[in-house]
């Protein structure tokens, strides 16, 4: 084996390692909204809806209210998936009144200004509300995405969720960064 051979092999190995590390980086670093889309889908798997919502219809609706930050990512994520035996679908809605038939409602940060109105519209329904909006759980939302050390995590307002008849799995609460048990008065 000559020195030229060794050099050729070394260069080849280096290329392979480089390409592999590129692929790996691509794999291990999904975008923030790819992660959030997956979380939305997974929330559906760890939450139980009250019987009247659970039995109504044969679609599991994940709604996005306001400007859609996901693009096609959310559709890709839930394409072909079932939640609680129902086909998961994405609905993009503009009015809070349209959200009453949703299972999960993602409230875009563009809607922050009318958050109170939106939450009031959903009062008495069993819709799991999720949002990026700061202080969302303090302000009557149920699950709020938070960024922690460059990782997407979430807070839960358990009292709100339970008031609306939703049961959050302990497994879900286990991985929540913070679980609130009582809403801020007037929040």
């Amino acid at each position: 084996m000559t020195a030229r051979h060794i050099r050729a092999i070394t260069v080849g190995v280096a290329w392979i390692l480089f390409i592999a590390s590129c692929l790996r980086a691509q794999q291990s670093n999904p975008t923030e909204y790819q992660v959030k889309a997956a979380y939305l889908y997974n929330f559906g798997r760890f939450v139980e809806w009250p019987a009247k919502t659970a039995s109504a219809g044969d679609l599991f609706s994940i709604c996005v209210l306001g400007d859609d930050p996901f693009g096609v990512t959310l559709d890709k994520t839930i394409a072909g998936e079932n939640i609680n035996g129902k086909k998961a679908v994405v609905k993009r809605i503009a009015r809070p009144q349209d959200a009453v038939h949703c299972h999960i409602l993602f409230i875009s940060s563009t809607e922050e200004s009318r958050l109170k109105e939106i939450l009031a519209a959903l009062d008495g329904t069993s819709v799991l509300t999720v949002s990026d909006i700061p202080q969302f759980t303090r302000r009557g939302g149920m699950i709020q995405f938070v960024m922690e050390a460059n990782r997407v995590r979430f807070e839960v307002n358990l009292t709100t969720a339970e008031r609306d008849g939703l049961t959050l799995s302990s497994q879900l609460l286990k991985v929540a960064v913070n679980v609130r048990r009582s809403p801020q008065p007037g929040g």
Binding site: S28, V35, Y39, R151, R153, F154, L172, K174
Partner: protein, 482 residues
């Protein structure tokens, strides 16, 4: 068998007993241990599988919501299971998500792929049990749990088993020893006793010994009975034999005494006859001489010749009587054996013989260095007779040759005296040694016929044999052993 050949039957029985029970126990223990280890391994796999399932299902939400810390908290619950060495949660594409190490090590482990269609895979390797299981949540594979356990529990169990087995083995062997000793008392003891008795009987020739019966009507008892019966028969036969022997001995003694008495009587008779015969003979001879000397002028020539004949006959009879007395003396004389140089003795006898026959030219060939333990006086008589005879019967030869030597004959050594004289008819070879046996006329070869009888008597009394070979006019050989 296993080097116990020389031990007693009791020891053999005990050893066999111990071996049998020991072997059975060892096999039983091995089978039990093997069975238990197999089922223990199965239960280990089952337990590890349950732990993997629990760790897996508790890691679903951490996996889905990317919370490795929560997964590690879940895994750290495995600390309660002391045998779990390491555990890991991996994402579907095989990246490590959370790990647990019992001993604080933290090495990355790559789990093998769970084959499609299976949810779990386990294997034993390097003293560890490894198990990999895919985590399935609501029908969808979510991750992989990989858990490794050491076999410390199994080793402990094995050690405990070995201890118990050793104790059981020792206890059982002791029990077997106890049983064997009881068994030995029942079966081996009578046989050992019988063997001891037999040994004593054959060593001391004491046929009055008896083995003690067991009184149980079993085979050893039959054996002992038969043995005792045999001893009894031997004793009976012995006493019958002794009786017959004693009777025979008595008979022999009686006969010997009778024989000795009659022999003595005969000897005394012949001695006295010989002795007493000499007196009248001397009278006849003396008075014949007186007649010849004092009355010669009154006797004619024929009368003188008659008187001469009377005297010759009387003298011959005197010689005869002398020889007879000699023979009888030889018979009675005590033998005093010593080492005698036969060659020197033969030379001296030959010299004497030659001196008495100065006109004869006789060649003696006497072998050197012949020695024997004999009575020298009796041996001289033997040689005088044999050499004298040889001279006598070679008197017709121009050159006489007489040999004395030693030869080998029928495997033993024999002495011989050979001459080239008149010889004898082989048909009469056996009668040569009888008293008064003569094969030649007195005028041809003078003699009384007593000499060879005397020689035979002496040789017999030395425990030897004498025999002769020869042919008419071809010389004679006399052989004798000592």
């Amino acid at each position: 068998m296993l080097g116990v050949r020389n031990y007693s039957i009791a020891t053999k029985l005990t050893v066999v007993n111990m071996l049998v029970s020991g072997a059975a126990l060892v096999i039983a223990c091995l089978v039990f241990v093997a069975y238990d280890l197999i089922s223990f391994r199965q239960s280990m796999v089952y337990n590890l599988s349950i732990q993997a399932q629990m760790a897996g299902s508790n890691s679903v939400s951490p996996l889905l919501f990317n919370d490795p810390q929560a997964a590690e908290n879940t895994l750290s619950a495995l600390r309660a299971a002391r045998s779990v060495v390491s555990a890991g949660i991996y994402t579907l594409d095989g990246r490590p998500f959370a790990t647990y190490w019992r001993d604080g090590l933290d090495q990355p482990l790559t789990p093998p792929q769970v084959p499609a269609g299976k949810t779990e895979l386990h294997w034993f390797k390097d003293g560890q049990l490894a198990l990999v299981r895919s985590i399935v949540f609501q029908g969808k594979p979510t991750g992989i749990v990989y858990i490794r356990s050491d076999l410390r529990d199994m080793t402990l169990r094995l050690q405990r088993y070995a201890g118990i087995a050793a104790m059981v083995l020792v206890a059982s062997l002791l029990a077997a020893l106890l049983v064997a000793s009881m068994f030995q008392r029942a079966v081996a003891q009578p046989i050992v006793h019988l063997a001891q008795t037999a040994r004593i009987v054959s060593r001391d020739k004491n046929y009055a010994m008896r083995a003690t019966p067991t009184g149980k009507r079993d085979e050893p008892d039959v054996l002992i009975g038969a043995f005792n019966e045999m001893l009894e028969q031997i004793q009976e036969r012995d006493s019958a034999l002794r009786k017959a022997h004693d009777e025979l001995e008595q008979n022999v003694q009686e006969r010997t005494a009778q024989l000795a008495a009659s022999n003595k009587e005969l000897e005394a008779f012949s001695y006295s006859v010989s002795h007493d015969l000499r007196a009248p003979l001397r009278g006849i001879d003396g008075f014949s001489l007186a007649l010849l000397e004092d009355y010669a002028d009154r006797l004619d020539d024929e009368g003188k010749i008659h008187l001469q004949r009377i005297r010759a006959a009387t003298q011959r009879m005197g010689l005869l009587i002398d020889d007879l007395l000699n023979l009888s003396r030889m018979t009675r004389a005590e033998i005093r054996k010593e080492v005698v140089n036969l060659s020197a003795l033969a030379h001296s006898v030959a010299e004497v013989v030659q001196e008495t026959l100065p006109e004869r030219r006789i060649e003696f060939r006497i072998e050197d260095r012949l020695e024997a333990r004999v009575d020298p006086n009796l041996m001289r008589v033997v040689l005088e007779n044999l050499l004298g005879n040889a001279c006598k019967f070679t008197s017709k030869r121009a050159s006489a040759c007489i040999e004395f030597g030693k030869t080998h004959c029928n495997g033993s050594s024999a002495y011989f005296v050979r001459d080239n004289g008149a010889g004898f008819d082989p048909a009469y070879a056996n009668r040569l040694f009888g008293a008064f046996q003569r094969f030649h006329g007195t005028s041809e070869f003078p003699g009384t016929g007593i000499g060879l009888a005397t020689v035979q008597r002496i040789i017999h009394r030395h425990g030897g044999k004498i025999w002769a070979e020869g042919a008419v006019e071809k010389g004679a050989v006399f052989y004798f052993t000592l």
